[in-house]
Amino acid sequence: MKKLLGLGTTVLLCAVLAASVAPAGKSKQSVVNLNFATYVWQPTTVKAMGAIVDSWNKSHAGIQVHIVPVDVNSVHDKLLTNFVGGTAADIVHDEAADIAGFTQQGYLANLTPLIPASLKAEMPQSVWDTTNFGHKITGVPIMLQTYNVFANMSILKAAGIKAPTVANPWTWARFQAVAKQLSTGGNYGVCWGLRSPTATIQTLSLNWGGQWNYLENGKWNLKVGAGEQAILKIIHNMVYNDKSIDAAGVGLSGSAVLPAFFGGKCAMTVQGNYQAQGMIQQSPKGFNWAMFPPLKGTSQNQAANPQTLSISTQSQHKQEAMQFIAYALNAQNMAKLAAGDWLIPAAPAAAKIVVKSTKHYGSWKNAVSAVPNFKKANWVTLGPYARWKAEVATPAFRQYLGNQISLDQLSKTLIDGWNNIRG
């Protein structure tokens, strides 16, 4: 009897244990865990991204997203190593120009069949084009940047100069004239930090249609024609002939020239529009600054090289990853991310939300006015571009801006370098 009782108790215990373990095991198995490698950096954006992930995790118990922070200056190296090593996160945050190479190497999943129609409709086709590699979209655009003139409005007003408007933007000629007018008494019209000149120069070349890379007989060639030369000539002329750009600042980073701008040594500075965040945080109390609409050459076009969210080919949960991306990039969330970084949301609906909710209405209005002018630049989707930029273009542009080589020498270096790298 005792034996029977013992056996019965054991069976009962086992049954209870099995019953209690089974649902736990089942629920554990049914949770999909997604790693999300992101390089968001500004504290405001880190906070916004954290809040988006938290709210997703709360409302989607079956799909849990874990943020893996990536150093913003080592994104390519980190992602490359993880892709090669087979340890890539499910969702990766990068930019259009960088994912071209990863797409070619097969590390990024084709998102075309996964992207929900509502998300596709949120953004203009010109922005989608930047992440479309031969009918294969491998990145969902998040936000973009433009290069804008920031002005010390007190100096401009004192000189009787009217600020441009979205309807009536400055041309480059007007900008040059104003810069020259304001270069007096040891002060300069413009401080322009061009330590990383390639993105700035190439993007602004689109103002004159300069695409740099052209498809000829099935090959992408590099050309430095009138469209490409225009911006180079203007900057060089302003530094060395007009002396309206402070030559000492040309070799510095964009942020490094801010003290001169805040100190009144320069009336204007050309910066990525995200620098507005720095203006808010760092400008002296009472400093009257404004961000102007993009300058106009023959157009106001600038290159669209958006930050992107992609899904790695190695991910076992692509559908779920896309669900999260669609959630993270709905208009409300995209607006929160963009507002934190002062970058332009890829979706016009998100841009409207930012403009409505901001304290800096004028500058944000000028920033988002650039959206229709974002154009696909050919170089963004070319595989050899990242290497050419780092190894050839940046050092060569620096030499030209430092007045060490002529425009012809620069052109030759850029073209030869491209041919070597493209092969």
Partner: protein
């Protein structure tokens, strides 16, 4: 008795020169200290001052709370201590053999050490990552320590063998003549004489691991495993944008353990460096 004023003047000049040199060396640290107490607006003044006009502890608050500096420092400490211990434990006997055993293997060993220092980091990082992944050591402190030991060992060996060479062989021979075994000689004769060298090399291994960035960047993925240099890098943003105040505060805090360590073992360090400097 007439005392010439020339030696006094010379001495004064020496002190002035010494103070000027000390200031020159310490200036970056002083500037970092100053920056760490400045607010965001004061950091972008056109004419910056060494003494902050409105000192603030805000940067230290950000460093300690927002960026998880303390946890990262604990991670770095573990990694650096284990690296120093393991490297020294492996390097010591190996260096003794390299220094004392003359022959082809010893010469080849030293040649290989030199050669191994010539490999660029970027060349080995992907194969290393694949290897560690196969061993299930990527994204772990154990894997990072393993890499640091391998990476630091050649230089440690080179340093230590030069210290061993500095100890006269006759001392060992005399002890052996008195009947001491090889192990006894190593323990009672060599080890005490080599102590300054061991301290210096261990310190070198510690600091190398403490400051290392690239391997940690590539190998570690889990945020809770992050080491100090990775945390510091998070204050540097795109296109040269830097959160200078919090970065200076964090960098200063990150320097403290090394400074403390140097202070504690300063005497050993001086002896070790000097003995290493004249032999080799």
């Amino acid at each position: 008795m007439i005392v010439s004023s020339r030696p006094k003047r010379a001495k004064s000049f020496q002190y002035v020169a010494l103070v000027a040199y000390m200031l020159f060396l310490a200036f970056p640290l002083l500037w970092m200290l100053s920056v760490s107490f400045k607010g965001p607006r004061e950091l972008v003044e056109l004419h910056p001052h060494l003494i902050p006009a409105a000192p603030t502890l805000e940067n230290y608050t950000v460093a300690l709370h927002e960026n998880g500096l303390v946890h990262a420092a604990w991670n770095s400490t573990q990694v650096a201590v284990f690296t120093a211990l393991i490297t020294t434990a492996i390097g010591l006997p190996a260096a003794y053999v390299l220094a004392r055993q003359k022959g082809l293997i010893s010469r080849l060993g030293l040649g290989w050490i030199l050669l191994s220092q010539m490999f660029p980091l970027i060349l080995i990082v992907i194969p290393l990552f694949l290897l560690l992944r196969r061993l299930h050591l990527n994204d772990s402190h154990a894997g990072l320590v393993f890499v640091y030991v391998v990476w630091t060992l050649p230089f440690i060996l080179w340093m230590l063998q030069s210290y061993v060479r500095g100890i006269p062989r006759e001392l060992e021979e005399a002890a052996m003549v008195d009947g001491a075994s090889r192990f006894h000689v190593l323990r009672t004769v060599i080890a005490p004489l080599l102590a300054p060298g061991i301290v210096v090399t261990a310190l070198f291994a510690f600091i190398s691991a403490w400051n290392e960035f690239f391997f940690a960047l590539v190998l570690l993925q889990t945020p809770s495993l992050t080491t100090l240099p990775l945390r510091l890098a998070q204050f540097v943003g795109i296109e040269g944008i830097v959160r200078l105040g919090p970065l200076a505060a964090s960098a200063l805090l990150a320097t403290l353990p090394s400074l403390l360590l140097f202070t504690v073992i300063q005497r050993w360090l001086t002896r070790g460096l000097m003995s290493g400097a004249v032999k080799g």
